[in-house]
C-alpha cells in the first residue's frame, strides 16, 4: 500500500450492537481497519462478527441493530451520515457484495441475463442494448464458456460454481470500487473454488478494485489475500500479512492453525483450542503497518 494514495475504506472503532432481553449484545466491538487496492482477508469462526463487519460497511444492519463508529469512510466520504436514499447509490455501484450461496442470492424466476441487465441499468441508466452488451461482456469476463446460453438460462439450470460466477458478474457490472465477498467459495468444490478465486484475483489486479474477503478458511486466506484480520468474539485479535499468517503470534490464531489437520504434518491428535476470556475482553487491535 503506497502512502500518498487515499484509502478506499477507513473504518475506525466500529461497533454493531443488538438489544436483547438480557441487555445489549455486541456483535462487533471496536473494529478499525483500512482498505487500499488490495485483497484484505477477514477470518474467524462462526459468530466472530466477520460477516457483520462486512454488512455494517454497506449499512445493511437492520433495526433494532445499531451501527456506531468514530469514522466509516468510503474514499473520504462519510458513510454513516448518508441518508438511506444516498446509500442506494453506494450499494451495488460503489461497494458490491457477493454472498455465500448463489442458490439463495439469485432470483429464481428471472433469467440470468435479465438479472445482470437489471443490476447494471439500475445504476448506469443505460439503454437496453448497452445493458445487454455489458451483461454479455461480464459473463465473458467471469470465464463462462457459453455466454449466450447462460444469458437465457434460469438459476436452477446453473451449477454452484456457475451460479457464483454469475453472481460475481452481476456484482461487477456497475464497476464497483470495492467488492465484499462473504464466504464466496464455501459452497463450492475445491477445483471450482480455484477458478472463482482467480477471477476475483484478476479483477482486483486489472481494475484496481479493493477486495474484502470474508472466510473461515485460514489456508485459503493465507494463500489468496495480501493482508489478514483475525477476529474473535467481535474484535480483531491480530492483523498480519497473509503470507506470514503461519507465523502469527496471538494464541487464538495459533490455536486455530494448530487445530487444522495437515497433509504435510501428520499428527496423532489434533490440538484443541483452549479459549481464554482475556481474548474476549481486550480491546481490538489497531493496525501498526
Amino acid at each position: 500500500m503506497s502512502e500518498q494514495m487515499p484509502n478506499l475504506v477507513d473504518v475506525d472503532d466500529l461497533w454493531v450492537k443488538f438489544p436483547t432481553r438480557t441487555g445489549m449484545f455486541d456483535a462487533v466491538r471496536g473494529v478499525s481497519f483500512s482498505l487500499g487496492k488490495e485483497r484484505l482477508g477477514i477470518v474467524g469462526e462462526s459468530g466472530s462478527g466477520k460477516s457483520m463487519t462486512g454488512r455494517a460497511l454497506l449499512r445493511l444492519i437492520r433495526k433494532p441493530g445499531i451501527v456506531e463508529a468514530k469514522q466509516m469512510k468510503l474514499m473520504g466520504e462519510d458513510l454513516l451520515s448518508k441518508t438511506e436514499q444516498e446509500m442506494r447509490d453506494v450499494r451495488g455501484q460503489r461497494i458490491s457484495m457477493v454472498m455465500q450461496d448463489p442458490k439463495f442470492s439469485l432470483n429464481p424466476v428471472m433469467t440470468i441475463g435479465d438479472q445482470i441487465m437489471e443490476a447494471y441499468s439500475l445504476h448506469a441508466k443505460a439503454t437496453k442494448r448497452d445493458a445487454k452488451d455489458k451483461a454479455m461482456e461480464m459473463l465473458k469476463a467471469v470465464t463462462i464458456r457459453d455466454p449466450d446460453r447462460v444469458f437465457r438460462a434460469y438459476p436452477h439450470e446453473m451449477s454452484g460454481g456457475m451460479g457464483q460466477r454469475v453472481m460475481i458478474a452481476m456484482m461487477l457490472a456497475p464497476d464497483p470500487e470495492i467488492l465484499i465477498a462473504d464466504e464466496p467459495t464455501s459452497a463450492l468444490d475445491v477445483s471450482v473454488q480455484g477458478q472463482v478465486l482467480s477471477i476475483m484475483d484478476r479483477l482486483v489486479e486489472e481494475r484496481g478494485m479493493g477486495l474484502i474477503f470474508i472466510s473461515h478458511d485460514l489456508n485459503l486466506v493465507s494463500s489468496f489475500c495480501d493482508r489478514v484480520l483475525i477476529m474473535y468474539a467481535g474484535r480483531v485479535v491480530e492483523t498480519c500479512r497473509a503470507d506470514k499468517l503461519h507465523e502469527a503470534q496471538h494464541p487464538y490464531t495459533r490455536g486455530l492453525l494448530n487445530s487444522l489437520p495437515r497433509l504435510d504434518q501428520p499428527r496423532d491428535r489434533l490440538e484443541v483450542l483452549k479459549r481464554d476470556d482475556a481474548w474476549r475482553d481486550a480491546a481490538s487491535v489497531v493496525e501498526t503497518s
Binding site: 454452484g160 471450482v192 487445530s259 497433509l263 484443541v272
Partner: protein, 255 residues
C-alpha cells in the same frame, strides 16, 4: 475378515431418459478395524455409496458384503446393530422437539435394550458430554455438542462399523478438532471400522489409512495415506484435487 466389501456396485436414480448413474462399477474393500476414506467433489457418488450400504437407495446392483452379511434388498435387524451412520449436518439430523434423552432412549428401545435409564448417561459420557446434557433440546446445544449427540446415537447399539458422512464439515475448525479426536479415541477403544466421506483431504488424511478418490461416480484411484501425503498420486484428477486442497495458487498472469 473384511469389514466392508463392495464389488462392481452400480447405483442409479430414475429410468429411461432421466436415468442418472450415481455410482458406476465401484469396488472397494475395507478390512475390519480399518479406517477408509472416500473423497471427491459434490455429485461424485461418495455419499451414495454409504447410503447404498445402509439401504437408503433402492436401485442398485452388484455385490456388497458388510459385517459378514451379504446384502440384498432389505437389511436384517442385526445389520443395524452392527452398522450405524453419522450424518453431515447436526442441525438437520436431530429432531428439534426431542430432547437428547428422547433421542437416545428411542434408539436404545428400538435396538431392544431394557436398561435404558442406565445406558443413556453412559452413552453421553462416552462422547464427552456430561449427564447435565441429558434433558436438553437440540436448540440448547452448540453444533459440536449436537454432533456428539449424533455420534452417541450411532454408538447406542454398539456397532462394529461406523459410516461417517462429512461428520465435521458443518463445524468450525476448533470444534472439528474436538470431534475428530473423539472419533479417533472411540475407534481405538472399540476397534471400530470407519468408512468416512469427506471433501476435505486433510481431514481424511488425518483419519484414514486408505483413501478412494471418486469422480463422476467412478472410483478413479485407491491409495494409502502415505502415498497421498507424499503427493504421489497416479491419477491426474487426484493430483488436481490434492493441489487445489493446498490453497490458492496464483496463476503467473496475475502475479
Amino acid at each position: 475378515m473384511s469389514g466392508v466389501e463392495i464389488e462392481n456396485l452400480n447405483v442409479w436414480f430414475g429410468d429411461g431418459e432421466d436415468r442418472v448413474d450415481a455410482v458406476i462399477d465401484a469396488s472397494l474393500r475395507v478390512e475390519s478395524g480399518a479406517s477408509f476414506g472416500l473423497v471427491g467433489e459434490s455429485g461424485s457418488g461418495k455419499s451414495t455409496i454409504l447410503r447404498a450400504i445402509t439401504g437408503l437407495v433402492p436401485t442398485w446392483s452388484g455385490k456388497m458384503v458388510v459385517a459378514g452379511e451379504e446384502l440384498g434388498d432389505s437389511r436384517s435387524a442385526t445389520f443395524f446393530n452392527k452398522v450405524q451412520m453419522v450424518f453431515q449436518d447436526p442441525y438437520a439430523s436431530l429432531h428439534p422437539r426431542h430432547s437428547v434423552d428422547q433421542v437416545l432412549s428411542e434408539t436404545l428401545h428400538l435396538h431392544g435394550y431394557d436398561d435404558i435409564d442406565k445406558r443413556v448417561p453412559k452413552l453421553l459420557e462416552d462422547v464427552g458430554l456430561g449427564t447435565s446434557f441429558r434433558f436438553r433440546y437440540p436448540h440448547q446445544l452448540s453444533g459440536g455438542q449436537r454432533q456428539r449427540v449424533a455420534i452417541a446415537r450411532a454408538l447406542a447399539p454398539k456397532p462394529e462399523i461406523l459410516l461417517l458422512d462429512e461428520p465435521t464439515s458443518a463445524l468450525d475448525v476448533s470444534v472439528q478438532a474436538e470431534i475428530l479426536n473423539l472419533l479417533v479415541d472411540l475407534r481405538e477403544e472399540r476397534k471400530l471400522t470407519y468408512v468416512m466421506v469427506s471433501h476435505d483431504l486433510a481431514v481424511v488424511g488425518h483419519m484414514c489409512e486408505q483413501i478412494a478418490v471418486m469422480q463422476h461416480g467412478k472410483v478413479v484411484e485407491i491409495m494409502s495415506v502415505e502415498e497421498m501425503r507424499a503427493m504421489r498420486p497416479q491419477n491426474e484428477y487426484t493430483k488436481h484435487l490434492l493441489t487445489s486442497s493446498l490453497g490458492y495458487s496464483r496463476p503467473e498472469s496475475v502475479r
